[in-house]
Amino acid sequence: MADKIATRESYGNALAELGAKNPDVIVLDADLAAATKTGIFKKAFPDRFFDCGIAESNMVGIAAGLATTGKIPFVSSFAMFAAGRAFEQVRNSVGYPHLNVKIGATHAGITVGEDGASHQCNEDIALMRTIPGMVVMCPSDDIEAKACVMAAAEYEGPVYMRFGRAACPVINDRPDYKFEIGKGTIVKEGKDLTIVATGICVGNALEAAEMLAKDGIDAEIINICTIKPLDEDIILKSAKKTGKVITAEEHSVIGGLGSAVCDLLSEKYPVPVKKIGMYDVFGESGSASALLEKYQLDGKGIYSQIKEYLK
């Protein structure tokens, strides 16, 4: 297994890299710079870093104001507060005027771990993808997370990026890897079923695919980093090939990647879909790995759920 690194760490590193390239980049945080890793940017560019204190709604509004003057603000907090607490500010002050604000939301999903359900946001993808014009991305590893940040800075308009707290394996370290907003990638070809995954579930789906292979099941795995706009072609093509689709995400099965895929397939190529994610429940305290195991979102859990579904 390759080295593990949390995508929040990748976010901080990418911001520092970006700061050197683009003087318009401003980073805002809400008293979580050590955790969101924007502290890395702060150290390199203290004059372009602003701590807004524990006031996420105002931070989003400040970012909107900065964007109207040509700055490229990255606002950072935990997903719970960036997408949850400040939802209406994101909707009305950023989304409606289509301002060039980038939201870097870390500590998404249950892998927040020990902090428990109050801090485990399993609803952010659902919230963000309902906002017209909002790009929603959830990278699967260090390489993709950095690419995500760089692409977001180049793109003109609001972007929501979802990062994790827990270290996850690097899975995209191949020479032909190329990132583009709105494009999914096939990380493993297969013919029997399609697993559409996002975030850390991509790596976990790869593990599940190895187990399925031992049972003679050849799974195709699609990595969807950009949940909105969704790469419809790559999903439709695979669904037409395998006729069976499974989605996997560290998010509620209501409104997230699974729902986005169902929205697409129900209209354009109806096939049975099994959504793997958090089944309308809150998380709880525990280590990230213990939680992934309990909620069956690790490799073994995804494998078991697929096997159960195929019965």
Partner: protein, 279 residues
């Protein structure tokens, strides 16, 4: 502009408000009329702006945090030459660029979309911060309602502005004392407003919102204030200029019917006649 010219302009702005809201059969006349003198002073004297170049980089910015009083802003912008006064009659109509609440993407001169209370002031703070980052000398003005002060975000933004010493920011409170559900003191009193802003490290000035000498002096004092933002608490009369709307909470968000429109325009025409006699 001298006081008489400003008074005449403010009356034109008020006519535009009444006309727009009457035509739309909906909208918020009360708080638009109470702020008409402030709007007029900002756009005809105080702010460094150019209607021919609405997006000029070094312009002063205005954010209408109390976005529901858009008719007041639109009427001012139209009279200032950003778009035809005639277009005010399209307010709130399908296909019109004059949306019910300010929309920066489609309305020339609107620096920030607003309408959800408490949010505009944060955007204004962001604009003021941007000027500080780049050592630019543009100034940022934002107008809030007194009822709007009940939104917690106002105080998050104020805390930041005070802490970061944003002396290029002026927060104006249209203190007309009324909100939809009644008197602000009866609903959830934000008073004392001046002491609250002082506590958030603002320089605070109380003025009569309808006295141009006081308005002028306050904005001058704000410009001369260094190291802290300024809050101007503008004590106003809701519905100012229209006899039956003055001090009446019922006219917060209601349009005059045809008969009421005639009376309102008659009131404002009389003010014009009075002003014509002044030298």
């Amino acid at each position: 502009m001298d006081n008489l010219a400003l008074k005449k302009m403010a009356n034109q702005v008020r006519k535009g408000i009444v006309t727009a809201v009457h035509s739309a059969k909906a909208g918020h006349p009360g708080g638009s009329l109470s702020a008409a003198d402030i709007y007029s002073f900002l756009y005809f004297e105080e702010m460094n702006i150019d209607p021919k170049e609405p997006k000029k980089a070094d312009r002063d910015r205005f954010v209408l945090s109390k976005g529901h009083t858009a008719p007041g802003l639109y009427s001012t912008l139209a009279n200032r030459g950003y778009f035809p006064v005639e277009d005010l009659k399209t307010l709130r109509k399908l296909g019109s660029y004059l949306q019910g609440h300010p929309c920066m993407q489609h309305i020339p001169g609107v620096d920030m979309s607003s309408g959800s209370l408490g949010q505009g002031i944060s955007a204004a703070v962001g604009m003021a911060l941007s000027a500080k980052i780049d050592n630019k000398d543009f100034r940022v003005y934002t107008l809030l309602g007194d009822g709007e002060l009940e939104e917690g975000q106002v105080w998050e933004a104020s805390m930041f502005a005070g802490a970061k010493k944003l002396d290029n920011l002026v927060v104006i409170v249209d203190n007309n004392g009324l909100q939809i559900d009644g008197n602000i003191d009866d609903v959830n009193s934000p008073n004392p407003i001046d002491k609250k802003f002082e506590a958030f490290n603002f320089h605070v000035i109380n003025i009569d919102a309808h006295d141009f000498d006081q308005i002028r002096a306050a904005f001058k004092e704000a410009r001369e204030t260094k190291g802290m933002p300024t809050a101007i608490i503008a004590h106003s009369l809701k519905g100012k200029g229209v006899s039956f709307m003055e001090g009446q909470v019922g006219w917060h968000g209601k349009a005059p019917n045809d008969e009421e429109y005639e009376i309102a325009m008659n009131d404002l025409n009389k003010i014009d006649e009075e002003l014509a006699k002044e030298v």
